[in-house]
Amino acid sequence: MAHPNDEYILEMFATEKTREQAFGLLMRKYNTEIYNSVRRIVFSHDDADDIVQNVLIKIWKHLASFRGDSSLKTWITRICVNESLTFIDKKKRMLQLDDEEYVERVLSSIPDDSHFSSDQIVQMVQTGIQSLPEKQRVVFTLRYYDEMPYEEMSKVLDTSVGALKTSYHFAVKKMEEFLSKH
């Protein structure tokens, strides 16, 4: 099924009568992308489900004030990243875990996750990604899976292109070390 373009969705959303219909179209178009970009950061399906709902509520609340400085996809990705990182921080505080303890907790859940592939190679790559520090994980997943240009990533993460390239370089090095060990 072909999805309507972003301009059409935004025009519909601007009208009070067709707002809900426009949001429905937006959900149908971006649901999978939103879910995947969130889940790549938090890994757990249950956590991702909570975050996706928060992201969609935020989109509903703030789409009317979307200025169009970037593409709608970039704007949505930015919300996904921010909501995911905020969620992780909150969860760490709630469970009283530091960064290492939290990563250990996530890694230990990977083999038994019912909503994750049992393929060993896929599990190994995902374990490597989840071992990365949060910011590097975000940069790596946006670059590797979404093939997002650095300029666009700069808008999403509000970071300079140079800093993003450095971050990605370190992430790749860590992934190489991890993969060479396993």
């Binding site: 809900e20 949001f23 429905g24 959900m27 149908r28 649901n31 999978t32 879910y35 995947n36 889940r39 790549r40 399906h45 489900d49 996706v52 709902q53 969609l56 509520i57 509903w60 609340k61 909503h115 994750f116 592939s117 393929d119 190679i121 896929v122 599990q123 190994m124 790559v125 995902q126 590797y144 899976y145 990605y168 370089h169 790749v172 090095k173 992934m175 190489e176 993969l179």
Partner: protein, 182 residues
């Protein structure tokens, strides 16, 4: 070079870009339904908030207007109150002004200045100004006495007008050394 990010990426890509994430059956449809329900609630909340905001603004404006009217009323009432009560000092000043202006214009000029000073200055200062008033009273009483004598004579003359034409009356008047040539 093994450390070259491009070589590492080729190695990673050999594992494939498969994330391995899966979702429960009908997850996106359920999410759509769930979000539409949440949006309806959000819409109600927004409408309620707008109504509350509008009510707050209107009631706030009404309260401000009422407060201003009350303050205005209180201030006006406190301004009028001293005027409504007769000021004894003002009465004295008016009396002195009336007497001086009717009798001696020169004195009236001076006393009017002094009388206005009396309004501001303390009461003891008005004491010296009572002396001219007493003098005026004495002269006035003399005038009244003189006028009373003349009126009595005239009324007697009117009473005896007919008789005065007679010789007997003329003789009587001559006896009294009070002869009037009619």
């Amino acid at each position: 070079m093994n450390n070259n990010p491009e070589n590492i990426m080729k190695k990673l890509e050999s594992y494939g870009k498969e994330t391995g994430f899966t979702v429960p059956d009908g997850y996106y449809d359920d999410l759509y339904q769930k979000m539409m329900g949440k949006i309806a609630v959000e819409k109600q909340k927004t409408t309620h908030r707008k109504q509350l905001l509008r009510f707050s603004l209107v009631s706030g404006a009404a309260a401000t207007v009422a407060l201003l009217i009350t303050l205005n009323f209180i201030l006006n009432t406190s301004d009028v109150q001293p005027l409504s009560q007769p000021n004894p000092l003002m009465g004295k000043v008016k009396d002195s002004l009336h007497l001086t202006t009717t009798s001696t214009p020169v004195f009236a000029e001076n006393s009017s200045l002094k009388a206005s000073d009396d309004v501001v200055e303390d009461q003891p200062k008005t004491t010296p100004k009572t002396a001219p008033v007493k003098e005026r009273d004495a002269s006035t009483s003399k005038k009244v006495e003189k006028m009373t004598d003349e009126t009595t004579v005239l009324s007697v003359m009117e009473f005896y007008e007919e008789d005065a034409r007679s010789d007997e009356f003329t003789e009587t008047l001559m006896d009294l050394e009070c002869y009037y040539d009619f």
